[in-house]
C-alpha cells in the first residue's frame, strides 16, 4: 500500500475506538497498528492533538504492574467530531466505490 493515509482517517480510527470505551495509550497504539501499517510512535502526537482540540480528556489509573496508565476518554465534542468524520469517510468511500464499479462496466 503506497497511498497516503489522508486527512482524518487515523483520527477517525482513534475516535471510533474511544466511542466504545476508554483506552490507554499503549492499547490504542497496538490496536491501531494491528490494522494499519504506521509507525507506532506517530500515534502519540495524534493523541496529543485530539487532546488539545478537546476531543478527549485523559486521566491516570493505577495498574497492577508497571506505571499508572494514562486513559483517554471521548468528550461530547469528540463524539460530534467522530460523527462528522464518519460521515465524511463514508461519503468518500461511496464515491470511490462508484468509480470502481464504473470502471468495471467499461472493461
Amino acid at each position: 500500500m503506497d497511498v497516503q493515509l489522508k486527512k482524518g482517517v487515523l483520527e477517525l480510527c482513534v475516535l471510533k475506538l474511544l466511542e466504545k470505551r476508554d483506552w490507554y495509550g499503549y492499547e490504542l497504539v497496538t490496536e491501531i497498528s494491528k490494522n494499519i501499517a504506521i509507525s507506532e510512535g506517530t500515534i502519540y502526537p495524534l493523541l496529543k492533538r485530539v487532546k488539545d482540540e478537546e476531543y478527549v480528556t485523559t486521566y491516570l489509573k493505577e495498574s497492577k504492574e508497571g506505571p499508572p496508565r494514562k486513559y483517554y476518554n471521548l468528550t461530547d465534542k469528540g463524539k460530534r467530531m467522530s460523527l462528522e468524520l464518519t460521515k465524511e469517510w463514508e461519503d468518500f468511500a461511496k464515491k470511490v466505490n462508484m468509480l470502481l464499479n464504473n470502471g468495471e462496466k467499461y472493461d
Binding site: K7, I38, Y44, E65, G66
Partner: protein, 203 residues
C-alpha cells in the same frame, strides 16, 4: 537504538516547547516502552516499531507551534508554525514563505492607509480648531488666515477622512484575523496527512 537513546534523541529534536510539555511527551513514550516490555516484547523491537524519533519530533513540533499560533496569534508565531510544519515535508518553505511575506506586505499597506488617513484628518481638525480659538496667534506665527467657512468645510472633510480610516482599520483587523485563520487551517490540514510506514523508512 536503546530506550535511553530514543528518548534523548526525541528530547533533542523538540524545539521551543515548554519543559512540562516535553516531560509529558517523553513520559508517554517511556510508559509505552515499559508496558510493551511487560507484555513480553523486547526493547529493541519496541523502539523500532515506534519509528524514527526525528519524524515523531517533527510532528510534535508542528502540533505545538500551530496550537501556539492559534492561541497567541502574531506574525512571528505564524512564521514559527509555518517553519515547523514545513519540516513535515508536505510543502516547500521556499514556495510558501515568499507568498506569506507578500500577504504580510499587503496587510501592512491595509493598516498603513487607514492610519495615515486618521492621522491626516486629526491634524487638519486640530489646525482648524486652534485657528478658530486663536486666529491672531496663527496669523502671526504661520502667516495663514483660515476663514470660518473654510475651517468648517475642512473639518467636515477631515471628519469624513477619520471615519473612513476607522472603517478601513476595522476591515483590516478582520481581514488579518481571517487570513491568519486560513493560514493556520492550511497548516493543520498538513498535520492530518500522514505517510505510511514504508514510505517513511525510505527517508
Amino acid at each position: 537504538m536503546t530506550k535511553k537513546e530514543f528518548l534523548e534523541s526525541l528530547r533533542n529534536q523538540l524545539k521551543n516547547i515548554p519543559k512540562e510539555e516535553i516531560e509529558e511527551i517523553l513520559q508517554d513514550y517511556r510508559d509505552h516502552i515499559t508496558i510493551g516490555m511487560e507484555n513480553g516484547r523486547n526493547e529493541e523491537e519496541l523502539i523500532k516499531s515506534l519509528g524514527d524519533p526525528k519524524e515523531i519530533a517533527k510532528q510534535l513540533n508542528a502540533n505545538y507551534h500551530i496550537k501556539n499560533a492559534e492561541t497567541k496569534t502574531s506574525a512571528s508565531n505564524i512564521i514559527r508554525a509555518l517553519y515547523a510544519t514545513a519540516g513535515l515535508g508536505f510543502f516547500n518553505l521556499i514556495f510558501v514563505l515568499p507568498l506569506f511575506f507578500i500577504i504580510l506586505a499587503l496587510l501592512f499597506v491595509l493598516f498603513a492607509v487607514p492610519v495615515s488617513l486618521i492621522f491626516a484628518g486629526i491634524v487638519v481638525i486640530i489646525v482648524c480648531v486652534s485657528n478658530f480659538l486663536a486666529p491672531d496667534y496663527f496669523f502671526k506665527n504661520f502667516d495663514v488666515a483660515i476663514s470660518t467657512p473654510e475651517a468648517v468645510g475642512a473639518s467636515l472633510i477631515s471628519i469624513g477622512l477619520v471615519s473612513m480610516g476607522l472603517l478601513i482599520l476595522i476591515a483590516a483587523y478582520y481581514a488579518s484575523k481571517a487570513i491568519s485563520k486560513l493560514v493556520l487551517r492550511y497548516l493543520k490540514f498538513n498535520l492530518n496527512i500522514m505517510q505510511n510506514k514504508e514510505e517513511k523508512y525510505e527517508h
